[in-house]
Symmetry: C2
Subunit: 340 residues, 2 copies
């Protein structure tokens, strides 16, 4: 039985906003980005063609392109450049992911075998190099030095963050400050670049640049905090990869960093054993989950993520109300409630 | 007893020109490049600082910076930009090398442990990414889009060449055409970029750009042919790494590619066994050396290298005679006679 039209309209008004409703604003641009991605990764070298197809047909969430395109819409950009840049940030993101998978010895991502599992580590090193440089080469096609600078700056920061994290792998004494230093570089700079790049397209707009950079930066931190939470609370089916992989990889994240100073020696030893073994050999995931639940640090981190979401929204205050501002305000909400 | 001054002067005139005499022309610029390298790789991340120092104090030959600086001198460039770009091409070259060492599982380079041996593969993947992107970030400091484009194009080609080579590793049926396709991308494009970048510095000079690109391109092919010869004929002491490492890595190069169609089944089987084993388990290096010597292909490849050296010099014909042209003409000679 069909609902009464007025009731349906009423229901829509009061229903929580859905991500898809906001993505509709940029649907055609997102579709164009997919086409651009396919164009940019076409190659006469068979392995590049095959691996790129595998990577970009693998159902990534396209969070960074979507953010870039929404910010472009906010500023009234409606050209080819933002489509190229959206494809470029997705290529950069995927270059990082495939190099990360080598480092983490990951065999599954997005529910499929990782690139390094399918093509081996050697080829994956070079495929990542190719993606990084090809993305930069393509970004150059719009002759905008400032955009290239923004992209390079964020990749330099990203690799620095990754190296800092790698250097502290397995350490139980990673502090809160250092954790934030790492995620600031590792994750939030590329978000900040993605969101602010539209302000660098002519006619440039320094005030919007600053606001959108700030927005993306806070959104990125929020995103990473939630990512780290999901490693504790997510399900393998939702994530498309094993849960507790951070801990198994010796990676200490905020929920445990906050809990460690508060727990007794026995429970601390359990954490140490997992970090040392890189496996749940002498202690079980349940023990760790019990720690972060009892100490309430999962909830604390969720609150921190929420406050970064608020800061992201606050950065949007300089823009007059619009459907696009609504969408940008909804993005941190959607990040907070994501399950994968 | 000291020589009579006139006799000494006479001896100098007839002595074969030495590389150092020509390098004197750019000595101060090369020194400035070393300083720039140290500046550009300074970092607040300890591992980046330490690894960079290790990499750039490791006695590389600085062939690409030297070529870039000589070409800059030829065009009368005397600023800061060419010093940055010289440092940048050396950073790019080293990024390639450290990623290559992961792929080749090499443990020695320039007589020392490879970066991947000292810092492990994971860190080396990220260090290479950092070097690539940091070099691009620094190249941007002179606001020259064309230079960035030239650099990106050459790195894209380079990674393509490496991937093509990797895909054909262990194959005995690699043909001459494919071999040249690979070395064209893998080696010669960065040489061509290094030599032609000075023509892209304002005031730009399209005719010089074309000539110097052509020069660098041919020099690069010559360089790679000699590199492949040295793997057969060099000594470990000169090379700073084990000899026959190409073959041991399953890499077929021109001397054997040319010899294979001419040899009998027994000797072909010896080559196949080495490529298959990635080791001299069932056949000895001496057997392979005997093949390329008997078939005269070492000599043939040397002649080919020499003809690329000639082509490089021919590209310089548009420039009026000068000491710098002499130096550029000497470079291919010096590449032909290098022992490491």
């Amino acid at each position: 039985m069909s609902q009464h039209p007025t009731a349906a309209a009423e229901a829509e008004k009061t229903a929580p906003p859905s991500a898809s409703r906001y993505l509709d604003l940029i649907a055609s641009k997102l579709a164009a980005t997919e086409e651009r991605l396919a164009q940019l990764t076409a190659s006469d070298v068979p392995i590049i063609r095959d691996a790129s197809e595998y990577i970009f047909s693998g159902g990534g969430k396209r969070v960074r392109p979507a953010m870039l395109l929404l910010c472009a819409r906010l500023l009234g950009r409606n050209g080819e450049a933002e489509i190229t840049y959206a494809a470029v940030v997705e290529m950069i993101h995927n270059a990082t992911l495939i190099h990360d998978d080598i480092i983490d010895r990951a065999t599954m991502r997005r529910g499929r075998a990782t690139v390094s599992k399918v093509w081996d580590n050697s080829r994956t090193v070079l495929l990542g190099d190719w993606l990084y440089t090809r993305s930069m080469q393509m970004a150059l096609s719009h002759d905008n030095l400032e955009v290239i600078r923004r992209l390079c700056d964020s990749i330099v920061r990203m690799t620095e963050g990754e190296l800092m994290a790698l250097d502290r792998l397995g350490s139980i004494d990673l502090g809160v400050h250092e954790y934030f230093e790492i995620i600031d570089r590792k994750t939030s700079r590329l978000f900040a670049a993605a969101c602010s790049i539209p302000a660098l397209i002519a006619p440039t707009d320094p005030k919007s640049d600053e606001a959108l950079y700030d927005y993306g930066h806070n959104l990125g931190i929020c995103f990473q905090l939630v990512d780290d939470l999901l490693d504790f609370t997510g399900s393998e089916a939702d994530l498309g990869k094993p849960v507790h992989s951070d801990l198994r990889g010796g990676k200490l994240t905020l929920p445990l960093i906050l809990a460690l100073p508060r727990i007794d020696g026995r429970r601390r030893t359990a954490v140490e054993m997992i970090l040392e073994d890189g496996a749940f050999a002498r202690a079980q995931p349940e023990e760790i989950l019990e720690i972060v639940e009892t100490e309430g640090t999962l909830e604390e981190v969720r609150e921190m993520a929420s406050s970064y979401a608020d800061r992201a929204c606050a950065a949007l205050e300089i823009f007059p109300p619009s459907e696009t501002v609504d969408a940008l305000e909804f993005a941190p909400e959607s990040v907070l409630h994501r399950r994968s």
